[in-house]
């Protein structure tokens, strides 16, 4: 089991600074969530871990491995997977091909098939539509593909960015059940969500980001009780 350690991370796009001297840890085998309003920089944290938005300062480690500035495919090779913000389908590929790409670094065909079956069990809708082009799926169906795809590689660490966006209430619940379940299988989860109530319901630990800085952290219980969080999210 591996965790993520971020130390003094600063980064941004072009001339804009987004993250300022951010440090956080995702303990192995836990669900750690990152909360924050729109534009706080949550997605940027995930992009930095993946090496898509290279850090300007600071270090990022997976367990003992320094992955700061490492190429994305090498980061993935460390056993990381990501369910990106906005689903990011390959629109001209079929549902099945999209899922397959989730397991791009897996070469065992039997394993791929087995995992795909598991995804199909969770989301029967995807099984019905395995040959449909992902681009023509409905918004929520695409979210299912994206979640399924993120599970295909059997990751040790999973980064999730707003997975339940556009999902119906039923599937939102389903989704949180899945996340809860994979943590129980020993996967480390770093979760970004707007659905604070349910997120804190399953998370072990959480951070609150605002304007690129951490403004609060603590166990899920503590955060639920925290006045800042309460004010901002439960209205």
């Amino acid at each position: 089991m591996t965790g993520i350690t971020i130390e003094n991370l600063s980064t941004g796009y072009d001339k804009a600074d987004v993250l300022l001297d951010l440090s956080l840890t995702v303990k192995p085998g836990t669900i750690t969530c990152l909360l924050g309003s729109n534009g706080a920089g949550k997605t940027t944290v995930i992009r930095s871990i993946l090496g898509l938005t290279p850090p300007r300062r600071g270090t990022i480690r997976l367990g003992d491995t320094d992955i700061t500035g490492m190429a994305t495919h090498k980061v993935i090779a460390q056993g990381l997977a990501c369910i990106p913000e906005g689903r990011r389908m390959f629109p001209k590929l079929t549902v099945e091909e999209n899922l397959r790409l989730g397991a791009y670094q897996v070469s065992d065909e039997a394993l791929i098939r087995a995992r795909m079956e598991t995804v199909f069990e969770t989301f029967p809708r995807l099984a019905e539509r395995r040959d449909q082009l992902a681009g023509t799926m409905s918004g929520g169906e695409q979210a299912m593909v994206s979640i399924g795809r993120g599970l295909m590689s059997g990751p040790k660490i999973l980064l999730i960015d707003e997975p339940s966006l556009g999902l119906s209430p039923l599937y939102v619940k389903e989704n949180f059940k899945i996340i809860d379940g994979i943590r129980d299988q020993g996967v480390t989860v770093f979760l970004v969500e707007q659905n604070v109530r349910q997120t804190l319901g399953i998370a072990d630990y959480g951070y609150v980001l605002s304007g690129g800085r951490l403004i609060a952290e603590g166990t899920a219980e503590a955060l639920k009780a925290s006045p800042e969080v309460h004010a901002a999210y439960f209205g």
Partner: protein, 304 residues
């Protein structure tokens, strides 16, 4: 009958030639989503590389034609593939963030540069070169119909390469990665795909395919010159589009359609044969009016 057979045979080999060029275009549309205007010139470069390899073989005294064909093809395909990868690395990747149409301009200029460089720096490069006939030229005569062994071999190998490329793109992990990179670079990376490598490999494959087409062309026409890629590129491009960009079969269909149009235009139309290109391209315009996304339309993937 013999005559008709001959036209058919001619058309088939010409169509194969066009299809092979068209396939290269389809490959690049997939990855770059722009017209790669240098494709024809890369083809020419491949043919010249092969020709040079042939001269080298002659020089060291290898004369067995089969060995020669093999070495010439290998050297041309590998050499051109390498050059393609280098071009991708230094000219295309740095521009990935720019509007895709600017890559069109780069490839356009690159094509000119390649063409001019061969013309100027290849020994006596402004004149046509005699590409050796390395394939067996045995032939069967059936009245007016002459079928030559080399034509049959070329068609067979050409189609095999196209089908091979098709399988590569549609049935392999590499092919899946290529298609993924084409659609969404960043997400492809998140899937663990080595983006840079895939772009380079795609360019290498595309350039290699062009080189192969160049060699085929040389073997069949026994003549290559620095300008040979211009029209061939143009026709290959049109064939790819008319056929439909969705899959490689569109390229084949388009290639054969073009060959058929030109043959018909040259021999079967009531007006002078000089109008055959007017005819062929006129039909292309009509086809596009009728089927705006090509004969084999792509499955649409966009929705609202």
């Amino acid at each position: 009958m013999g005559l008709l057979g001959q036209y058919l045979a001619n058309g088939i080999i010409l169509g194969t030639m066009y299809a092979l060029v068209a396939v290269g275009f389809t490959l690049f549309f997939g990855v770059l989503d722009v017209i790669k205007f240098s494709h024809g010139d890369v083809l020419m470069l491949g043919a010249f590389t092969g020709f040079t390899a042939f001269l080298g073989l002659e020089f060291v005294g290898v004369t067995d034609p089969w060995v020669q064909v093999l070495v010439v093809t290998l050297v041309a395909v590998a050499g051109t593939a390498f050059i393609g990868a280098v071009i991708a690395r230094y000219l295309v990747l740095p521009l990935k963030a720019a509007p895709p149409l600017n890559i069109l301009l780069i490839t356009l200029m690159l094509g000119t540069a390649i063409r001019e460089a061969v013309r100027l720096f290849y020994p006596n490069g402004s004149n046509p070169k005699p590409f050796p006939a390395l394939l067996p030229d045995a032939s069967t005569d059936l009245g007016n119909f002459t079928l030559r062994a080399d034509s049959v071999i070329l068609v067979a190998v050409g189609l095999a390469v196209i089908v091979g490329l098709h399988l590569l793109i549609n049935r392999t992990r590499l092919g899946l990665a290529i298609r993924a990179v084409a659609q969404d670079e960043e997400t492809a990376r998140i899937m663990g795909i080595n983006y840079t490598m895939i772009v380079l490999v795609t360019f290498a494959i595309g350039s290699g395919a062009a080189a192969f087409a160049g060699i085929m062309n040389g073997l069949y026409y026994n003549e290559i010159n620095f300008g040979m890629g211009l029209l061939l590129g143009l026709i290959g491009f049109s064939a790819a589009i008319v056929g439909g960009l969705g899959n490689l079969y569109g390229a084949i269909l388009g290639g054969f359609l073009f060959a058929a149009l030109q043959t018909i235009g040259a021999v079967a139309l009531p007006f002078a044969s000089a109008y055959k290109d007017v005819f062929a391209f006129g039909v292309v315009i009509a086809v596009m009016a009728w089927k705006p996304t090509g004969l084999i339309a792509e499955r649409t993937s966009d929705r609202v």
